[in-house]
Amino acid sequence: MNTSALHTFTLQDIAPMANRAVATDQELYEAMRAGDDLCLRTLMERHRGMAHAVCRNILGDEVEADDVVQEVFFSLWKRGGWTPGDVRFTTWLHRVLINRSIDHRRRRRDTPTEADALSNAVEDFGDSGPDAEELITRQETADRLRAALLRLPTAQQRVLSLHYFEDADVPEIMARLAATENSVRSLLKRGRMALREDLRKQKKIWTHDLDRTARHA
């Protein structure tokens, strides 16, 4: 390894500033751009208070303001951006901090919070489908129907199951059960009547149970 070349490079390109505390912003900035990283620290120490206040006044949050200040100084160290002679360093710095803070504030406003996202999801669900109560009612009705069906004679049970749970029409039931049309229609009719009667009886019992539960609640 050629150590003399490295040594020469170090001396030529990075000349540490003797007294950073009394240097002007422009001197510090130029030395930082030339590679004296400690000048960034001096610039930060010098302007951090005002930089933080500018960001906090826009963002309303101390931590977020700190983040923006760090971001801007990091970007300053990495890419520079100020042109000496155009405007004062502080004027330029404040404008950059303000722009960055406004960007942050708008991004935060446009990003939904967890609570907003949850609320939207609930609203979307309500708009597009049945609510939870309706789903429970549907499920209970289906369960009661199945229970009533199981109490019917086997032939009626079979025909009604094919018709209501497998969407089979009369010709399909005839084919699957090898039965005549009259027989299928008769079984469907008697099965429906028996089912209706059974459900009516059950409803009286459920209503009675519900009333009793409500009275005891």
Partner: protein, 68 residues
């Protein structure tokens, strides 16, 4: 919001835009985001407020006329 209105509102409410009602803060931020003059005005108001906060409050001391 105009630059003059921003100036007046900064004088009245101070530079903490997060404490302003959003009906004033949003138009102010719209102006500040596009105008360098508005940015400089806002920065100057922040600096003045920072200086005022740093200035120690005057101490009231008893004088010969108020002493018993």
């Amino acid at each position: 919001m105009t630059l003059t209105e921003l100036h007046a509102t900064l004088d009245r409410l101070g530079p903490d835009l997060s404490a302003w009602p959003s009906t004033l803060a949003e138009p102010a931020l719209d102006l500040i985001s596009v105008s360098d003059a508005a940015k400089d005005l806002f920065a100057a108001a922040t600096e003045a407020s920072l200086r005022a906060d740093a200035t120690p409050a005057p101490r009231w001391e008893a004088t010969a006329t108020t002493a018993p």
